[in-house]
């Protein structure tokens, strides 16, 4: 579904990723773990075309997207729900959701809207409200809902639990597992290691811009190198 090989990327003269190899198979949840500054967000930005990789290859659904524009990548169905949500605060919930389907047709839009509102009934109650006036948990629902409006074949979730209460976080991970059970492939980038590994099939631990550890989630959870990557005790 998504194959990354030898990916190098960074900002200006500053290199962040030093050759990442990663695979997401259809129907999987793959967790990408790592401390702050390890390069997780840079990886997401490269995958979704917000920055151009220096070298390496990204293949999505059998098509190379390494140098593709961000709009072509969205059109192909690789949807990135970013860290910090990046919803449109000055627009209503309805307008936010509709913009999620910016590149999709009218018919798909109505269908996706019904689907999203079935998953998040709360958003249905708030359709006319300005997105910026909602609580953090509701904004996170909206960010994911907006992503689902785009008909993802792969959904990248970047730090979705950031700033949420433990209760909301638990609900969120339940939701991610349900979306996956419905057939959606998910790349889950998280700081919340234990809960991520509980729902993920496989995991990659990234350290200093390279993959330090990879494998089935249960094995990664038990590996002492996981702690080392977080505590910087390599």
């Amino acid at each position: 579904m998504l194959e990354v090989s030898g990916l190098h990327a960074g900002y200006g003269a500053f290199a962040v990723l030093h050759g990442i190899d990663l695979v997401l198979r259809p129907g999987e949840i793959v967790a990408v773990l790592g401390a702050n500054g390890a390069g997780k967000t840079t990886l997401n930005r490269a995958l979704s075309g917000l920055i151009r990789p220096r070298s390496g290859r990204i293949v999505f659904g059998g098509v190379e997207t390494t140098q593709a524009g961000h709009d072509a990548i969205v059109r192909a169905g690789l949807i990135h729900v970013p860290e910090g949500r990046r919803i449109f605060p000055n627009l209503t919930v309805r307008d936010n959701l509709l913009l999620g389907a910016f590149l999709r047709g009218r018919a798909e839009r109505g269908r996706n809207m019904a689907k999203v509102l079935a998953i998040f009934p709360r958003l249905g109650e708030r359709m006319g409200q300005l997105a910026g006036s909602m609580s953090g948990g509701e904004q996170q629902m909206l960010a994911i809902g907006r992503g689902l409006m785009a008909e993802p074949r792969v959904l990248i979730l970047d730090e979705p639990s950031l700033g949420l209460s433990p209760l909301l976080t638990e609900a969120l991970f339940g939701l991610i597992a349900r979306l996956n059970a419905d057939g959606l492939s998910i790349l889950l980038v998280e700081q919340n290691v234990i809960q991520s590994l509980a729902i993920a099939h496989r995991a990659y631990v990234i350290e200093h811009g390279a993959v330090a550890l990879e494998g089935p989630a249960s094995m990664v959870a038990d590996d002492p190198r996981l702690k080392a990557a977080y505590l910087g005790l390599a």
């Binding site: 524009g69 961000h70 990135h80 949500r85 919803i87 449109f88 627009l91 913009l99 910016f102 907006r146």
Partner: protein, 288 residues
């Protein structure tokens, strides 16, 4: 006595409608996109000259020319953003400021070189046509300008509220990165929105021509009024631009009547200060 005031009031409303249209373009560019568009007045001048040339050299009525000039000005605005302002600015506010100021200086002097400093007006019956409504005499071009401006304002509002591109414009202004992740290309949206704002000037130029003089300096008359209206009405608010435009038109007209031609414009500043004292975000501005 009362009739004079009523006439001044209605005259103010009529001219306020065109102010509103000029301000609508600006509230889109300045209020929504946050581009301080110093070229706004100069581009209105260009539109008025375009309508004047079509009327004098080709005999086309300004109203018939309106769709053509509006589309032409849209293209000018789009190209100006795409190839000059967007490129020079790289998203930096002061660079945008200098770029639009530079465009304005170039346009003003280019038209001064081509047309000279004389004021011009179209010849014809239209300019002096009047409608008698009860005891009042209404200048036909001003009534038409008022009506068309309000229709265009409504259309623009519907475009911004109900279409994908309208939503995208509002979204990109606040959250360009989020918009990119939806497959929206912010630089295209900006160029399009700037073009629409300038397209409004094309329409305004055609509506103004039958009742106003044109000269290369005419833009400065309108640009200050337009900025006042945008801030008064609330940055980026379309109802605010319309109500603000009407309010400023009426204030100007009544101020001229009460205080005289030279002291009259002080009324605009007084209303402006009063509104901002009571509502710092403008009449229709969202609280920050």
């Amino acid at each position: 006595m009362l009739e004079i005031y009523t006439a001044a009031l209605i005259n103010g409303l009529l001219i306020g409608g065109v102010y509103a249209l000029v301000a609508l373009g600006l509230t889109l560019i300045y209020g929504v996109l946050h581009i301080v568009n110093f070229a706004h007045g100069s581009l209105l001048m260009v539109a008025m000259f375009a309508a004047w040339v079509l009327a004098e050299k080709a005999g086309v009525s300004p109203y018939a020319a309106l769709p053509v000039v509006a589309c032409g000005m849209f293209a000018v605005g789009w190209a100006l953003y795409r190839y000059v302002i967007g490129r020079v600015s790289r998203g930096e506010d002061r660079a945008i400021l200098l770029a639009t100021l530079g465009v304005s200086v170039v346009l003003d002097n280019l038209f001064l070189a081509i047309f000279g400093g004389d004021t011009r007006q179209i010849e014809g019956d239209l300019t002096f046509a009047m409608w008698e409504v009860g005891p009042l005499l209404l200048a036909v071009p001003k009534v038409i300008a008022f009506g068309v401006s309000l229709v265009l304002a409504g259309g623009l509002w519907a475009f911004m509220a109900r279409t994908d591109m309208g939503r995208a414009i509002r979204a990109v202004a606040k959250e360009p990165e989020g918009a990119r992740l939806m497959g929206i290309r912010p630089e295209r949206v900006f160029a399009l929105a700037y073009g629409i704002g300038i397209g409004c000037l094309g329409a305004a130029g055609c509506l103004l021509l039958p009742s106003f003089f044109v000269s290369p300096h005419v833009g400065s008359v309108f640009v200050l009024v337009a900025f006042t209206i945008v801030v008064l009405g609330g940055m980026g608010s379309f109802p605010g631009a319309v109500v603000g435009g009407l309010l400023i038109g009426v204030t100007e007209s009544l101020g001229g009547l009460v205080l005289g031609e030279s002291l009259g414009p002080i009324g605009i500043s007084l209303v402006f200060i009063a509104v901002l004292l009571l509502r710092p975000t403008g009449l229709f501005g969202a609280a920050r």
